[in-house]
C-alpha cells in the first residue's frame, strides 16, 4: 500500500494514468448522471459502440494516432449514431430500444471490420488501436491526459454554465419550451456534451464497457441524495474513484485490461449504494419497515390491554396472555411483544401469564388511541 502511494507520487507513468482516468471519470460520471435522469443511459452504450468506426476511419484517413484526431473521429461517429437513433425513432415506427440495438450493432460491427482491415496492413503503426475495445489505461501518455484535461474541463464548464437550463430540460422539457428556451438546441447541446464525455474515455475504458462508466456512477449517486447538484457531484466522485482504481490496478497487473477492472470497482460502489444508502438503500428500508412493524405491534398490544382494563375499575387491571393472543389485531403470539413492553416499562408481568399496564403504559395507550381515532388533523 505504501509502495503504491509512493509510486503514485514518484512514478511518472502511474501519475499520468491516475490523473487522466480521474478526469475522464469525473466527466463521464457527471454527464452520465444527467443521462440517467433523462432515461438515456442506454444511449450512452450505443454512442460508445458507434464511436469505434469513427476511430478507425480517423486513423485510416490521417494515418495518425494523435489523441485529438482519434477523439474527433470517435466524436463524429458517436454523434452521427445518436442522431440516427433519434431520426429513426421519430420518422419510422421502429421503437427506441430497437433503434438503439440496431445502431449499436451496425456501427460496432462496421468498426470491428475496419479494425481487422487495419491490422492486416503491413504498416507497423497500427498497433494500439485494439486497446480501444477493452481499454488500456497503461497506454495513456502525457499528451492524452492533456487532451482529456482540456476537453473534460470544457465539458464540465458548459454543464455548469447551462446548469439551470439543463436541469429544467431534464425534468420537464415541455415546460422549458413554453418559457422560450430553445428546447431542441439545448437537447443537442447536452447530447453533444454527453458524446464528448464518452469519447474522451474510450482509449482508457474501451468502447465495450464505457457504458458502465456512464450509467453506474449516476445510479449509485442517486441512492445517496435527493438533490440534483449533490447527485451530479457525487457521480463525478464515484466516476473518478472507479477510473483511478481501475487504471492503477490494471497498470500494475500486466495484461489486465482497464475496462473490466473499472467495471468491477464501479459495480462494488453501486452494490454498496443499493444496499446501504440511507432512505433508498435496501438494508435501510428493511430496518425501517422492521422498526415500524415492531412499533405497530407494541401499540396494538398496548391498546388491547388498555381496552380490556377499561372494562374494570383500574386501567392497570391485569389480563392473561391468552386473551391478548386472541384479541390482538397483529398476527402471532403476544408474548414477544409483551416482553418488549416490559423492557420499555410500559407493562409488567403480574404472574407467569398475567400482565398489566404501568401508569406510563396507560398514558402511552391513551396517546395512541387519541392519535388513531380521535382528533385527526
Amino acid at each position: 500500500m505504501i509502495d503504491l502511494f509512493s509510486d503514485l507520487f514518484n512514478d511518472y507513468t502511474l501519475r499520468t494514468v491516475a490523473l487522466g482516468s480521474a478526469l475522464l471519470g469525473i466527466t463521464a460520471g457527471s454527464l452520465g448522471g444527467f443521462a440517467l435522469l433523462r432515461r438515456q443511459s442506454l444511449l450512452g452504450d450505443a454512442i460508445s459502440h458507434a464511436a469505434l468506426p469513427g476511430i478507425a476511419i480517423a486513423f485510416l484517413i490521417t494515418g495518425s494516432k494523435a489523441p485529438l484526431v482519434l477523439i474527433l473521429g470517435a466524436g463524429i461517429a458517436g454523434w452521427i449514431g445518436a442522431a440516427l437513433i433519434s431520426i429513426v425513432t421519430t420518422r419510422t415506427r421502429i421503437k427506441y430500444d430497437s433503434a438503439l440495438g440496431i445502431m449499436l450493432s451496425v456501427f460496432f460491427g462496421f468498426g470491428l471490420v475496419l479494425l481487422t482491415y487495419i491490422q492486416r496492413q503491413p504498416d507497423a503503426n497500427q498497433a494500439g488501436l485494439n486497446s480501444f475495445l477493452f481499454g488500456q489505461a497503461a497506454a495513456l501518455v502525457e499528451q492524452d491526459v492533456f487532451v482529456i484535461f482540456v476537453i473534460g474541463t470544457l465539458v464540465l464548464l458548459f454543464m455548469m454554465v447551462f446548469w439551470k437550463e439543463f436541469k429544467l430540460l431534464s425534468f420537464d422539457s415541455d415546460f422549458i419550451g413554453t418559457l422560450g428556451f430553445p428546447v431542441r438546441l439545448l437537447d443537442h447541446l447536452l447530447t453533444t456534451l454527453f458524446v464528448i464525455a464518452i469519447v474522451i474515455g474510450l482509449q482508457t475504458v474501451g468502447v465495450v464497457l464505457m457504458s458502465a462508466m456512464i450509467i453506474a456512477p449516476g445510479a449509485a449517486a442517486r441512492q445517496w441524495t435527493d438533490r440534483l447538484g449533490r447527485m451530479i457531484i457525487l457521480a463525478g466522485i464515484f466516476g473518478a474513484i472507479s477510473g483511478v482504481g481501475g487504471a492503477i490496478t490494471s497498470s500494475l497487473i500486466p495484461a489486465l485490461p482497464t475496462g473490466p477492472t473499472i467495471v468491477l470497482i464501479v459495480s462494488i460502489i453501486v452494490m454498496i449504494s443499493l444496499l446501504f444508502a440511507p432512505n433508498r438503500g435496501l438494508v435501510f428500508r428493511k430496518i425501517r419497515d422492521w422498526q415500524a412493524g415492531k412499533r405497530l405491534r407494541v401499540d396494538a398490544v398496548l391498546v388491547d390491554l388498555y381496552t380490556l382494563a377499561s372494562q374494570h375499575a383500574s386501567a392497570e387491571y391485569p389480563h392473561s396472555e391468552r386473551v391478548l393472543d386472541v384479541m390482538s389485531t397483529i398476527s402471532g403470539p403476544a408474548r414477544r411483544t409483551l416482553k418488549v413492553l416490559n423492557d420499555l416499562e410500559l407493562a409488567k408481568p403480574i404472574d407467569s401469564t398475567h400482565w398489566s399496564l404501568t401508569p406510563e403504559g396507560v398514558l402511552r395507550a391513551e396517546r395512541v388511541i387519541e392519535r388513531q381515532f380521535g382528533g385527526g388533523s
Partner: protein
C-alpha cells in the same frame, strides 16, 4: 374585440393522421373556459400546439392580439401531472422556482427574490409546509398543487392547464376551483382541460366542446347542450342523460 386567446384554423397532424382539424377558439379576457371532449379528442394537442410545443400544419394563435411567440411571458402552462418523472432529485420549492426561469433568462441563477416569490405562490396553493419536501414524497393532489404554484409564480395573463383536477380529492378540487376564481377576479384568462362534465356549469363561464373539430364554444348556458354533447361524445346516451340530470339541479 380583443380576445385573450384567439385561435384560428388550427390544424395539427401527427404523421398523416389529423388530430385537430380547422379548429377556431375565441376566448374573451377574464374568462374561465373548460375544454372538454373524449379521450384522444385532441385537448392536450390543442394546448401544446397553442404553446408551440407541437408544430401546427396550419393556423394561427394570438394571445391578447399578438402572436404567441411575442407573448410567452404572459402565458403560463400547467402540464398533465403524469408528464414528468416525479422521482427527479429535486424538492418542492425548486420546482416552483422553475416558473421563474423564463424571467431570469439565460445563465442567471435563482436567488433570494425568486425564493420569496416561489414561497408566496406555494402559500397560495396551501403547500407552504412542504417547501423542502422531495417531490417523490408528495401525493397526487400535492403534486398537482406544486404544478399550479409553478404556473402562479409566472404571473401570466393567460393560463393553460391540462387536467388540473385529475386524481385530486374533493377538498383539493375545491381549493383549486377557488384559485381559478381568484385568477379570474384579477382579470386573468384560464383555459382548463376538464373531464368531469357535471361540474362544468358550476366551475366555468365558457366551455369548448372538442373532438378533432370544434363542436362548439362559448358561454356555458348557450353551448353546453345535450345535442352538442351528443355530437362530441358520440352516441353515449346514458352518459349524456346523466349529465342533463345534473344540469337540472
Amino acid at each position: 374585440m380583443d380576445y385573450a386567446i384567439d385561435i384560428r384554423d388550427l390544424t395539427v397532424a401527427y404523421r398523416e393522421k389529423p388530430v385537430l382539424w380547422d379548429v377556431d377558439l375565441q376566448v374573451p379576457p377574464g374568462v374561465l373556459i373548460a375544454i372538454v371532449g373524449p379521450n384522444g379528442a385532441g385537448k392536450t394537442t390543442l394546448i401544446k400546439s397553442s404553446l408551440g410545443l407541437v408544430k401546427a400544419a396550419a393556423g394561427s394563435v394570438l394571445i391578447h392580439g399578438r402572436p404567441y411567440s411575442e407573448q410567452r411571458a404572459n402565458v403560463a402552462y400547467v402540464p398533465q401531472r403524469g408528464s414528468v418523472d416525479w422521482d427527479f432529485p429535486t424538492n418542492v420549492l425548486d420546482v416552483v422556482t422553475m416558473g421563474l426561469y423564463g424571467r431570469l433568462g439565460w445563465f442567471k441563477r435563482p436567488g433570494k427574490a425568486e425564493r420569496i416569490e416561489a414561497l408566496k405562490s406555494l402559500a397560495q396553493v396551501g403547500m407552504e409546509e412542504f417547501t423542502t419536501r422531495q417531490i417523490s414524497q408528495l401525493s397526487g393532489g400535492q403534486q398537482q398543487r406544486v404544478f399550479l404554484a409553478r404556473a402562479l409564480v409566472q404571473d401570466a395573463r393567460v393560463y393553460f392547464m391540462d387536467e388540473p383536477f385529475q386524481g385530486v380529492d374533493a377538498i383539493t378540487e375545491r381549493a383549486i376551483v377557488d384559485l381559478l376564481q381568484d385568477l379570474r377576479k384579477q382579470g386573468k384568462t384560464v383555459a382548463v382541460v376538464h373531464h368531469d362534465l357535471q361540474t362544468v356549469p358550476e366551475y366555468f363561464d365558457h366551455v369548448m366542446l372538442l373532438n378533432v373539430r370544434r363542436i362548439a364554444s362559448g358561454p356555458v348556458e348557450e353551448v353546453f347542450t345535450e345535442e352538442n354533447l351528443r355530437t362530441t361524445y358520440g352516441g353515449r346516451v346514458a352518459f349524456v342523460s346523466a349529465l342533463s340530470a345534473a344540469n337540472r339541479t
